[in-house]
Symmetry: C2
Subunit: 111 residues, 2 copies
DNA sequence: TCGTAATACCTAGTGTTACTATGTATAATA
DNA sequence: TATTATACATAGTAACACTAGGTATTACGA
């Protein structure tokens, strides 16, 4: 199902910003949370998630902060920035525009 | 607007099959028709359309037939195949699944 | 205790695909 | 006569999700 891979394109960042817009999370948590909220549909691969997070961080849309757990394990929590919030709003409206256009073709209103 | 480019990925073929599922069309017509039906949203580039049509043809999903117009001009009409119809049904349901999952994240139900 | 699974992060390379830029050619219009 | 619209084509580019591999700790069952 390479379909899924292509459908994701351009939307991964939106999903990440959307989650982080609600609360800071770390990578592994994001993967689990996306799967849970989408009722099992989204199963982000690490090779998708971490490069995406780094991309967002480089763009100043999120900020990652290492946090040490008791026991020595490390987690990197990501916090959305103001810029990230603004981009999220843009992305959300772009998604709605796209969805509207798609529905006009894929599911034409029955007259 | 590189957003748009990425959002299109995986959906161009669905849109083409959807149009051709209703009636045979030629390339230029498809571009105009997609733009009209989407109220100006979709503006397929030739570098997107023709490779996509050839891809679909190679996959046996559509069949292209040259037709000569009075005056000597050539048009290539594309006809959807049975296989194309079946793929269209699959693609449509994949799109709906994806849309559902996206909405669960992007627009969580307000409680 | 030893292997496996879960947790937690990382990245080099691959494959797909929409698009840019460019080319050819005819018909209609200014 | 020049420009625009019609009509098709393709080589090369850029973006990005994913594969496959790596490191390391913690928990659990055999």
């Amino acid at each position: 199902m390479a379909q899924r891979r292509e459908l994701m394109k351009g939307n991964a960042d939106s999903l990440l910003l959307c989650l982080l817009g609600q609360q800071p999370m770390y990578g592994y948590q994001i993967i689990k949370e996306l799967e849970r909220r989408s009722q099992g549909y989204f199963k982000f691969k690490e090779g998708t998630l971490y490069p995406a997070l780094h991309r967002l961080e480089k763009g100043g849309l999120v900020a990652g902060k290492w946090q040490r757990l008791p026991g020595g394990r490390q987690r990197r929590y990501y916090y959305i920035s103001d810029k990230g919030h603004r981009l999220l709003a843009v992305k959300r409206s772009q998604w709605l525009d796209f969805l509207t256009a798609m529905n006009l073709i894929i599911q034409p209103a029955q007259t």
